[in-house]
């Protein structure tokens, strides 16, 4: 498929797809005309990129992480344990934020329930 179809199938703009290639995240084939040609593996790659970007990783970090995932089914290879640790650390940071917000919400709930002091 060409860039337009990939854009429609992923919901990611053509500009963003070209940018990902520029950053080394995607390496589509090229027709003699210069047109980019993508396949289904690229579709899932783009989805993985989006998930990682939404999780707060930069394209530079994703460049390191992406090769450690098997192309077809998004599996982490066991050959990259360090990168797995990076992802775990990042998940833990998000967990920390969730904890903060949940504690806040719990305090709010007690206040709303009528108590003046929350613990």
């Amino acid at each position: 498929m060409r860039i337009g179809e990939l854009s429609r199938r992923t919901g990611v703009s053509e500009r963003a797809l070209r940018y990902y290639e520029e950053q080394g995240l995607l390496r589509p084939e090229r027709r003699p005309s210069g047109y980019r040609v993508y396949n289904d593996a690229h579709v899932s790659a783009v989805r993985r990129i989006r998930v990682l970007l939404a999780a707060g990783l930069s394209t530079a970090q994703i460049v390191d992480v992406l090769p450690c995932m098997v192309d077809d089914n998004g599996l982490l290879t066991p050959s990259c344990p360090e990168l797995g640790d990076e992802l775990v650390k990042h998940r833990d940071r998000i967990g920390e934020a969730i904890g903060e917000l949940e504690a806040t919400r719990a305090n709010l709930d007690t206040i709303i329930a009528g108590d003046r002091r929350a613990g």
Copy 2:
């Protein structure tokens, strides 16, 4: 304390602290000279801001949830004057933020666990 000490105590640059005020995240007192004056509540507020930023929330989102986050002994911040529907709305907004972060974390978990079809 003044901005320099707050910066040292939080590890956040003075420029960033002024930026947070500009975005409505901090409201320090002012001396006649114009100097900003902070207290311990601002120290924990800055830490919360940093956690939420690191989790991928924007300052605009933090503006919505921060004013109703509760200080050390469960005291309401002065920026939550109305104890009725407003608090409930704020709690619900916090709930939305939690939901988004949990979705992000779930996606990360899927990738880390090597499961199929993240996204």
